[in-house]
Subunit: 242 residues, 2 copies
């Protein structure tokens, strides 16, 4: 299927390169190395809901998202599930299992229709060794992830519903910091509830309270943050007030 020669293959020979070049991990690589990496990458289109990998699978690949978003989540024995992260276009995921070779720690599923590419561990590891700077980049990535995850633990243990919800909204607006004002987050309340680990009903009730105060506006499958300041305050306040 991949008859890569000089760049002419299927639909998106350059989109891979574009994603890699834009990503902080790979942006400093020389063009030749980038090109080689592109040849390793297998392109793939996914329908919403498609499973990419599951918790416990052997972790043999690194995945980059070209378009759409991917949901990283875990599901308990009794069916409740928690969303650990949402990966958007231009981001990569699956690096932990790629790097240490152990099982995947969570499930990854296409949250929208997605375009991704996959780099195999067997090809990638030697590549990393041939590019010492890359190891440092991965260290930075892992540190970032660790900070994010520690933050989550902190939120979940120390904060109550309003605090956690506020934190989640702040984090989400910071990710899509496209427009400075009028932050619209495309997400369902169900999804938010799974990110903060509380029920949809509770989340909805809290959001309504904030809507009457003009802190947020609720739309279909989206939340617009109108005034981030009081939310920021709540996020930092431990477990006070609402």
């Amino acid at each position: 299927m991949p008859q890569d020669k000089t760049g002419e293959t299927r639909a998106f020979p350059n989109s891979k390169l574009a994603v890699l070049r834009k990503h902080p991990i790979f942006c400093d690589l020389d063009p030749e190395a980038l090109d080689q990496l592109c040849r390793y990458a297998k392109h793939s289109m996914l329908k919403r809901g498609a499973a990419i990998f599951s918790k416990g699978d052997p972790g043999n690949s690194l995945i980059a998202v070209i378009s759409g978003t991917v949901k990283i989540s875990i599901t308990s024995a009794d069916g409740r599930s928690a969303i650990l992260n949402l990966i958007g276009a231009g981001e990569i995921f699956g690096e932990v299992a790629l790097l240490d070779g152990l099982a995947r720690t969570a499930d990854a599923t296409a949250n929208t229709n997605c375009e991704i590419f996959v780099i195999d561990r067997r090809e990638f590891l030697p590549f990393v060794r041939s590019q010492p700077a890359l190891a440092m980049k991965f260290i930075e990535l892992l540190c970032t992830r660790l900070r994010w995850t520690s933050d989550q633990v902190e939120q979940v243990i120390l904060q109550n519903l309003p605090g956690r919800l506020a934190s989640a909204l702040i984090r989400l607006t910071e990710k899509h910091k496209t427009e400075p004002a009028g932050r619209t987050i495309a997400i369902t309340q169900q999804e938010i509830s799974e990110m903060v680990g509380m029920t949809r009903e509770s989340i909805n009730k809290q959001l309504r309270v904030w809507a009457t105060r003009k802190w947020v506006r609720l739309e279909h499958g989206a939340i617009v943050v109108l005034d981030a300041k009081p939310l920021q305050a709540l996020a930092e306040a431990g477990s006070e007030g609402d």
Copy 2:
């Protein structure tokens, strides 16, 4: 556990070397490099309760524990605190801020009287660059940490008190896997409660229930796990039963 019977006891020029040589991160370094690292390391004794660093501090060092245990925790505005990890003899901590140069994400305090040594970022980073294998070791360490922390998020979001407590006990026994049977964990109930994010009273009541079933035995400042199997089952069961 560290029996200092023979010559190398209090003077410690060698204990540094011993700790480094035993640690998975450094064990593969050649003796010369180890020696150099030892010269960088500043030795220090701490009384129980002493602060090593605080959340938000600039992260300029890596710390290794020679004896005693160090508590990694966070405290919210209203005084509640959560223990993220306990670092024992032979382990290292503070690597995230060391590696990415940003602020510390949590507080570190001596949980018992401690003997530690400290390696400065300015000296350590060039050293890492001179030892490419070391970067890979750090990647592995970070992956391990990330798995641990993700696990914590999973526990806290998906499990109820019995599940979380059981998970915590299992984790703790696995850390000190000294004797196969008769796992004694030296920890106060207050500390456990801060690790699982619930109150001491609730923890105590649950532990008593298990004690009557002979799953655990409670001692002063210690818990003995008598039968790990039912606990293991609970830890994996999501949020069922007790």
